[in-house]
């Protein structure tokens, strides 16, 4: 700031959030005494429209060239006030936030005097910072108007259709042989009892027929480079040994394959061949060969490794022989890498269920008649292995009683899952109801902690099925489940009567916790987006930016972020699609100019900053031996500036000089 500083300080009451603890009037008065401050005031809600007007008018009236807003966290309203400043003709990067709510009034709720003094100190430090703020102009980057969507469950499908319908290209990548995701496993969906065949498969067909959607099933994202508007993505099309263009989906090959592998679609309750189709509604309706199980493919691999000698005749070629379309080739892997350019990415990778082996106290993985809820969905599904009448895994008998266990792993920090999985109360009510429809003389018990039915029509649904279905709801946790003869014994408590409960039952269904898929960490690293303590993808702001990640241009949808039901997942998917379309509606994208920059005179090219950068935004110019910042990739986190030993790397508007001056102000009384 070459000109004389004319700074305005605006202290927000935030109702009583700040003013209930901090003496805001005193903060404003103290601010006015500061060198360079020409105006200060307070207002009850600075972020409201009249509050913003106060700021705008003061900027014009007092010809302010710097503004300090003392209010809440900058992640909430920094943008609000930068826009207000811009409207009043001040460069928005001359505005800084002094956080006196999250960092002052809230933590010092019971010590108003200390809080007020701290607020004054924070404001003073921020004034010092603003004095040295420079004017910056956002710069523009071009945008490739195509989107990559990772995950072909209901979230990915919905987002793909929304973006494609708006006229933009979509690359939909799905790791399994079909799109449809977990929703396709379900018997019926709460609370409307639509079956996925009725409401999801039409959408799947729409995806496969949409001219703007490039459907890439049995594929995985290999690498992602570039930045907002300009991502270069490598996609691995996994070896399927089947030419999808030729395969007609006739199923002849499935019948002849001699291999028996666990069928994922039936949660391992049934078997499939090494060549298989995900299910009858698969989109695309093609077969794939599972490398892990195919006899011939494994033989060929051993030949290539020099472990066995090649043979004239194949070891097994039954599927190849019956394939009239000539679509199968077991001798050569058809894995390939496809490169695409996209402007935005939506991650919709969904969830998994906690491995039942982690619940040995419930006989998980030990007792065959203790199954998880997705397996029971298959047993209830008319298209499932038992045609909708549940039969238990151990002996195929129809269970005459079923115990449903809520919160199996969820809400249980001891199992590493402190959160509620949010859908279990609802689907257990639905499953118990469907079970009673299939086995009218059967008994259904449901152990629960609380019933969480907070959605439109949800509570009514639970109440209705409990009353009409003659279900036995027991409020309490199950402590132990074990096998006794051909029965399964469940020990629990009914906390409403204060009694211990012991039930000998035929089948137990565990509502195991929803957990992030194990591969998510690797994918998140490729995308340079963070995950939370559990492995769910982190949103940029839980309340105000739930669809965005901190990496610009990458969005999240569905259960990849946190457990969600179908309603919420679809809403979020459409929301993420709308975010992408907002981006695509602009000819060029604006990027924040508050990024790192290098003083080329000082930089010695040591590369420490490059190691620190989480966004891959720094490269070393070998010729000049200096660091170079890719401004489009830089997110302005400042890690490079902090680590730079010579001070060559600096973050705009938060330079070393500014930081040191702030520290000096804050520590002058110590």
């Amino acid at each position: 700031m070459a000109e004389k500083p004319r700074i305005g300080v605006f202290v927000c009451h935030c109702g009583l959030n700040i003013a209930g603890v901090v003496d805001v009037k005193r903060v404003a008065e103290e601010a006015k005494k500061l060198d360079g401050v020409v105006f200060s005031t307070t207002y009850v809600f600075m972020c409201s429209e009249p509050g913003q007007k106060v700021v705008e008018n003061a900027i014009k009236e007092h010809k302010l060239n710097g503004v300090v807003i003392a209010n809440c966290s900058p992640s909430l309203h920094e943008k609000t006030f930068r826009n207000a400043a811009a409207r009043a003709g001040l460069n928005p990067y001359r505005v800084e936030i002094a956080n006196i709510r999250e960092q002052v009034s809230w933590p010092h709720e019971h010590e108003p005097e200390i809080a007020t003094r701290k607020a004054i100190a924070v404001v003073r430090a921020t004034v010092e910072r603003v004095k040295n703020n420079m004017t910056y102009i956002p710069y523009e980057v071009p945008v490739t108007k195509a989107v990559l969507i990772i995950g072909g469950g209901i979230a990915g499908i919905q987002a793909a259709l929304d973006v494609a319908d708006a006229g933009y290209e979509v690359y939909l990548v799905e790791k399994s042989p079909t799109i449809g995701g977990k929703m396709l496993f379900l018997s019926e969906t709460f609370p409307t009892l639509d079956c996925p065949q009725c409401i999801e498969t039409p959408k799947m067909t729409d995806v496969s027929q949409h001219p703007n959607i490039h459907l890439m099933t049995y594929s995985e994202v290999e690498s992602v480079e570039g930045y907002l508007g300009n991502f270069n993505v490598k996609i691995k099309r996994k070896a399927s040994y089947v030419d999808f263009d030729k395969c007609t989906g006739c199923t002849d090959c499935l019948r002849v394959c001699p291999v028996k592998a666990p069928n994922e679609f039936d949660r391992g309750l049934t078997k499939r061949g090494a060549i298989y189709m995900a299910n009858e509604q698969a989109v695309p309706l093609v077969a794939v060969v599972d490398e892990k199980y195919c006899i011939e493919v494994n033989f060929q691999k051993r030949v290539k490794a020099g472990k066995v000698k090649p043979r004239e005749k194949p070891v097994c070629s039954k599927c190849v022989e019956v394939c009239e379309a000539d679509a199968i080739n077991l001798l050569e892997s058809n894995e390939k890498i496809v490169e695409v350019k996209v402007g935005a990415i939506i991650v919709a990778t969904g969830f998994e269920l906690m491995d039942m082996k982690k619940l040995p106290e419930y006989g998980g993985g030990e007792v065959p008649d203790v199954i998880d809820a997705l397996a029971f969905e298959r047993l209830l599904a008319p298209s499932g292995p038992t045609a909708g009448v549940p039969k238990r895994p151990s002996d195929g008998k129809i269970p005459k009683s079923v115990v449903f266990v809520s919160c199996a792993g969820s809400r249980d920090p001891e199992h590493g899952v402190a959160y509620c999985s949010r859908v279990c109360c609802m689907y257990l009510a639905k499953q118990a109801m469907l079970y009673k429809h299939a086995v009218p003389d059967g008994r259904a018990y449901n152990f629960y902690i609380d019933i969480r039915s907070n959605g439109k029509g949800y509570e009514e649904f639970v109440q209705r099925v409990r009353e009409e279905g003659d279900l036995i709801y027991l409020r309490g946790k199950v402590s132990k489940i074990f096998r006794k003869g051909d029965k399964v014994v469940v020990w629990g408590a009914d906390t409403l009567t204060g009694q211990k409960v012991e039930i000998e039952t035929d089948l137990v269904v565990l509502a195991t916790a929803m957990v992030p898929p194990p591969e998510i960490k690797k994918l998140a690293a490729k995308l340079r987006i963070p995950t939370d303590e559990y492995g769910w993808l982190s949103e940029a702001h839980l309340k105000l930016r739930p669809l965005e990640t901190v990496t610009a241009g990458i969005f999240i949808a569905g259960a990849a972020q946190f457990p969600k039901d179908i309603t919420d997942t679809v809403s979020q998917a459409s929301g993420a699609a709308a975010k992408v379309l907002t981006m695509f509606s602009q000819p060029k994208l604006k990027r924040e100019p508050i990024v790192a920059e290098v003083d080329t005179e000082i930089c010695a090219g040591c590369g420490l900053c490059k190691e620190q950068c989480a966004y891959d935004a720094i490269r070393i110019d070998e010729k000049k031996n200096i660091s170079v910042v890719n401004e489009a990739l830089c997110e302005g986190c400042g890690a490079c500036a902090a680590v730079c030993p010579s001070g060559a790397m600096r973050l705009r508007n938060l330079t070393k000089k500014q930081v040191i001056e702030m520290i000096e102000v804050l520590t002058e009384n110590y």
């Binding site: 040995p360 106290e361 030990e366 001891e414 132990k480 096998r483 006794k484």
Partner: protein, 294 residues
């Protein structure tokens, strides 16, 4: 060359559970392991003190570990589950809370040495599993325990809290694994980690009798002939309180309770008189004789 391991016995191993100590030493001798009893051991603390601001309860266990260190030991083997739990938890506590360790060291000034959390506390089962190894145990079996159905009972102290657990907290298998090596048949005991009633045995014997009934009746239903444990307190409760269990539950049947080391020593071919069956309330000998094992 025999391996010498500093050994902390604790009070019961010298009194009611003397047969546990004796048979454990027999078993160890087969693998050239010598229990080197601490010269000056004191009470383990008996119960782990949960008070967060009073370190007095931790002085006794820490002093024992300091004495191991002073004698040049790096680890100690423990047989009693209660001692194991108290020592191991106190050890973890001082490792995590250096300031509290300083206080305890100050209290122990007469030792003329300071403790640093370095001693490793090990249960004998861990040594059998991780150092001796199952294949070596199998080699020593002279008299396979054919026809004997064994349920293994762990109680709580070897497993909880999970930071000190010697095995999976919810479904431990180390004793079952050993029983299989001995040629006996393992009976799955779903209540193997249920509470035995612990010190309630002093004032409310009925509680213990009901726990004993639950545990032994389940074992019986699952087909067990005998039940093994590694905890002297569990052993006392499950063995000695069977008479009240019988009074309170007419369908209760007596079942012999053995230390796992007694069963091992039997399978390793040691003579009957070395196995310490005399102090048992429910005499295991008839059940073993019936199956031709004595």
């Amino acid at each position: 060359m025999s391996t010498k391991i500093p050994y902390y016995p604790g009070c019961t191993l010298k009194s009611t559970a003397k047969n546990f100590e004796d048979t454990a030493k027999l078993v160890a001798s087969k693998f050239d392991i010598e229990f080197e009893e601490l010269a000056k051991w004191i009470c383990c603390g008996a119960v782990y003190g949960l008070s967060s601001d009073n370190v007095m309860h931790k002085v006794a266990p820490v002093r024992n570990m300091l004495r191991v260190k002073k004698a040049g030991g790096e680890r100690m083997v423990v047989l009693c589950s209660m001692c194991y739990n108290t020592l191991k938890r106190a050890n973890l506590y001082v490792r995590k809370n250096k300031d509290k360790l300083d206080v305890i060291n100050a209290i122990m000034y007469l030792e003329n040495a300071t403790y640093d959390g370095s001693v490793k506390v090990q249960h004998f089962l861990e040594i059998l599993r991780d150092e001796v190894g199952y294949s070596n145990i199998k080699k020593e079996v002279k008299k396979p325990l054919k026809g004997l159905n064994v349920a293994a009972y762990y109680g709580c102290l070897l497993l909880r809290p999970k930071e000190v657990a010697i095995d999976n907290v919810e479904s431990p298998t180390v004793m079952e694994d050993i029983v299989k090596l001995l040629g006996a048949k393992v009976v799955n005991l779903p209540v193997k980690t249920e509470c035995c009633g612990s010190y309630q045995t002093v004032s409310q014997k009925d509680i213990i009798a009901d726990r004993t009934y639950l545990i032994l009746n389940t074992a019986r239903e699952m087909g067990a002939d005998v039940l093994i444990t590694s905890c002297p307190l569990c052993h006392f409760n499950l063995d000695r309180r069977q008479d009240i269990a019988k009074e309170r539950h007419h369908d209760f049947e007596f079942m012999p309770i053995l230390y796992f080391t007694q069963l091992m020593a039997l399978a390793f071919g040691f003579e009957e008189e070395k196995l310490g069956f005399e102090p048992h309330f429910v005499d295991p000998r008839p059940a073993l004789k019936e199956r031709g094992l004595l």
